[in-house]
Amino acid sequence: MRKERGTQGVAAAPAPATGGIGSESHETLQHYYRQMAFIRAFELRAAEMYQRAKIGGYCHLNLGEEATVVGLMAALAPEDYLFTTYREHGYALARGIAAERVMAELFGKSTGVSGGWGGSMHLFDAETNLLGGYGIVGGQIPPATGAALALSYKAEPDAPTPAVMCLLGDGTTNIGAFHESLNLAAIWRLPIVYVIVNNGLGMGTSVDAASGEPDLYRRGCAYRMPGVRVDGNDVLAVREAARAALEAARKEHQPSILEAVSFRLRGHSVVDPARYRSREDTDKAREEDPLPVFRAQLIDAGALDLSSAVQIEEDAERVVSAAVEFAEESPFPSVEELFAHGYATPVPNAPRALPGDPVIAPAGVARS
């Protein structure tokens, strides 16, 4: 089973060069801008809906990470698998899930991707191989690694397999599950790419304060796992780097780290005013905001004209509005369904008591 591992240490490989905007079709570039603009519009509306108490729980947004999201999803093939964190609305959208179903999930409606059971942090869609948003920091990493194990288990030895992309935040590289999982992927040569979405902060804790090796793409060194850092504000660079990493995972069963560096435009979640953030930091984030930057680049390069840009943005607003309307009008799951997902294989004596019910039905007949 075991193949040669990499050589000692980690070649801090530069991210693969991209041809830049010039070498992409206008259509492709517009498509990326459309996706980015759409995520932006969706997230801003999600924030608004949260403030209007249409969305409950925690709500973490991809604002500022749109280029990373779109670049990664452009590289991920339909047969690949995706495990994400709780900050994943954008990924679900770019993976092709209808905005209505995502917004409906945030509203807790039965038409949501997870049937209203998951909420913002727990989007799941079997059809697009989105195997879940996870709210426990690092919790997704071992299962993602296990999914890669399953792919290699099912494949002929040395044959290419689909790959797994496992997203995690910068702060998450300090938890034990990260270490254990990377080690497993390395010794078993699993087809997986660990993407560290480095937005510079955990909640308010900087990468530098949290990580002994703040160059996060280098943390694979402890497993001889290669790593690459890419500018997360550059959608093409992200896409190219992800493609290369995914190819190595699929064909050579070479796991790797891909670090995409960008900024979080707002607080950790909708309710966080981010007072701990320096003015300088916020300014920088705003200056490098991938949306206006990419828009300007495309217009400069003649790949997009102003009216199409405005059109794209208006379309985004319209679709998001429709999604909100859909979510608003969809029904909540019915209370009768409370025990519907108790077990996948039914067994006798499975609990079905509501609060205040007796432990045994008064007749002495066990419910089941």
Binding site: A209, L338, G356
Partner: protein, 330 residues
């Protein structure tokens, strides 16, 4: 006496204990620069500096374990685990280490640490972020587990916990942080291991703790108007468990209900019911009932979440069922 929120009572107590004793320090995720996910530690980094208020990376096993080691060398760490759900990442250090070290090494060393952590559902945080799993810790000898329901108890028990030489799990509750109550100005401690009779009554005993104790008290006051006299026992401490106070109450009222926020099977209420039926068997006029959460991973959707969680209405329903059941009339 002054009126304080539960949050403020915790904050003030941490500050007072840090001022009093140089060996007390705070450690946890986002407690410093971010001022705490629930802002209990707001302002303390600015006042005490990073030596006394130590932000950690995200690594519950690591920083809880580090606090154990620091405590073994005589410091008094007060750890914050952001929510009790994340304590499962550190439970090996808590149960296999903190709880064992004093006895396993023949009493040569103690582990004077406090782990503060909130539980609680009802905030639409979904299945993995809404648990009430204090029973895991209540089951483990070597630990002390306290569950204050009021700002006054939050203060008195936190003070006692910090000055205690054993590892204390100090369970807070998300939905209590903004509740207010009278808090004595003097700096008394509340003894760990003692339940409180939160309200005296004659007809039935409701046993509860943390958020449920607040609901129970509210229900008791409402039923008073109808002439139903409910005694409310607030456990305050799950380990040690004050069985005597619970049984003494039931020996008086002859009927009991437990209200608890955790899942029914193998939850805290199971121990209470088991204790009562043994300690007050001859006095019991009706079975002890339990009002607990439905046994499902808590759904996000509000109507489902509401249906799954125990509340005042369910408690009232069960109290009435017990008192009305002709089989169990006195």
């Amino acid at each position: 006496m002054s009126e304080l929120s539960y949050r403020q009572a915790l904050h003030d107590t941490l500050r007072e204990e840090m001022l009093r004793d140089e060996s007390v320090f705070l450690i946890g995720e986002e407690i410093g620069v971010f001022e705490g996910s629930y802002k209990i530690t707001a302002g303390l980094l600015a006042e005490f500096g990073p030596r006394r208020v130590r932000d950690t990376p995200i690594c519950e096993e690591g920083f809880v374990g580090a606090a154990i080691g620091a405590a073994m060398l005589g410091l008094r760490p007060v750890v914050e685990i952001m929510t009790i759900n994340f304590s499962l990442l550190a439970i090996d250090q808590i149960v296999n280490h903190a709880a064992k070290i004093h006895a396993m090494f023949g009493g040569q060393v103690s582990v004077p640490m406090v782990i503060r952590t909130p539980g609680g559902g009802g905030q639409q945080l979904g299945a993995s972020h809404s648990q009430n799993i204090e029973v895991y810790y209540a089951h483990a000898p070597g630990l002390k587990v306290v569950t204050p329901a009021t700002p006054a108890d939050a203060k008195g028990l936190l003070r006692a916990a910090i000055r205690d030489d054993d590892p204390v799990l100090f369970v807070e509750n998300l939905s209590l942080y903004n509740t207010k109550g009278e808090v004595p100005d003097e700096t008394g401690r509340i003894e760990i291991g003692k339940a409180a009779v939160a309200k005296e009554g004659r007809d039935i005993t409701v046993v509860a703790y943390s958020r449920a104790a607040v609901i129970a008290l509210d229900v008791a006051r409402r039923l008073e108007a109808e002439g139903i006299s409910v005694e409310v026992i607030d456990l305050r401490s799950l380990r040690p468990l004050d069985r005597e106070t619970v049984c003494a109450s039931v020996r008086k009222t002859s009927r009991a209900v437990v209200l608890e926020d955790d899942w029914l099977s193998f939850g805290v209420g199971a121990e209470i019911a088991a204790t009562i039926q043994e300690g007050a068997f001859d006095y019991l006029d009706a079975p002890v009932r339990r009002v607990a959460a439905a046994e499902v991973p808590l759904p996000y959707a509000k109507p489902l979440e509401n249906a799954a969680l125990p509340n005042a209405d369910a408690l009232i329903k069960v109290i009435r069922e017990i008192l009305d059941d002709t089989r169990y009339q006195r």
